[in-house]
Symmetry: C2
Subunit: 192 residues, 2 copies
């Protein structure tokens, strides 16, 4: 149903995969600030300098986590837009985006804060992960706006920026309606 298949993931040695998994646990349990090379090594029963046998530096570990984050978020979003049609795709996409991000806040923040380590990511992964927004919005500018809205909502929710008595379900709804109303009617063109 999707236009293009998910790009291949970077291949890792078993030990490197273990390191990424441990880093992910640490990230979700304690936050990125507590993911230090020493703490990460501790969890694996080794010493910090040994990590450098498997990753060039801490940034490379972060890039591996960003890859995981993009791949999993992309899968969630593709699933959501694949299961809906027409203007229903906007609320379905937003609900999946919110649910997935809040379920993996550490990974989400790491992957969306600061510059993307594009040179360390598989070709096409970023584009693939974002395509559901184009599919749901039907227009490239509306798609970018919709993505920005979703990201803003999630990040402000994660950072507890809204007043404590906010009804965020209704806020998400308000935005969803605003965007859904601008989705162009699908042309009745048959696929190739």
């Amino acid at each position: 149903m999707s236009t293009v298949q998910e790009p291949a993931r970077t291949s890792r040695t078993p030990r490197a995969a273990q390191i990424v998994a441990a880093a992910r646990e640490l990230l979700e349990e304690q936050g990125w600030g507590e993911v230090t090379m020493r703490a990460l090594a501790d969890r694996l029963g080794i010493r910090a300098p040994s990590l450098y046998k498997h990753f060039r530096n801490k940034e490379a570990v972060a890039a591996a986590l960003v890859e995981v984050a993009l791949a999993e978020m992309g899968a969630a979003l593709h699933g959501a837009v694949g299961g809906a049609s027409g203007a229903d795709r906007v609320p379905a996409l937003l609900a999946a985006y919110r649910r997935h991000a809040l379920a993996h806040p550490g990974l989400y923040r790491l992957a969306t804060t600061g510059r993307l380590p594009r040179e360390a990511l598989p070709e096409g992964l970023e584009e693939w992960a974002g395509r559901p927004f184009s599919l749901a919005a039907g227009d490239p500018h509306l798609a970018q706006a919709l993505w920005s809205y979703a990201h803003g909502m999630v990040v402000l929710e994660l950072d507890r920026r809204y007043p404590g008595d906010s009804d965020l379900d209704r806020t998400w709804q308000a935005g969803a309606r605003a965007f859904a109303a601008r989705v162009p009617a699908p042309e009745a063109a048959g696929g190739a």
Copy 2:
């Protein structure tokens, strides 16, 4: 024209004000990662430990900068909504938000990333700075959604997340139209 006056700013000794000013320069020139206590002290011709005579710790310096950021952004936004009416307030507000944030990216990022140091901020400042969104949207949920959209756009633009060939003016427009169309018609109630 505004409902309530801008809250008073925290009073600072002359030296503390100098420190905040120097921190701001460093922040905008080099980014928060380069604002270290030693670099900050250097710029003032003193040693790092002397800074602790004026601020309890680095977090307190950050909080002072966040206060500046909120006050200046609030002023810009109040000015923008004050100069427009009806649904025109949405694009006016968004334009001012974008312009101000991109003109002070370090301050913007510092004030909007991670948790807000609310206990260190003047009472009412956060609410005052955000009120223009309520004024423009006319509905609390739409206001939150609009703010989230603006923040998402700015932060993704600052982080260069959009493809290099994006026409962001048009993306901002697409979002502005989506939200403006949902602003309820103003009731013809006279002011008190």
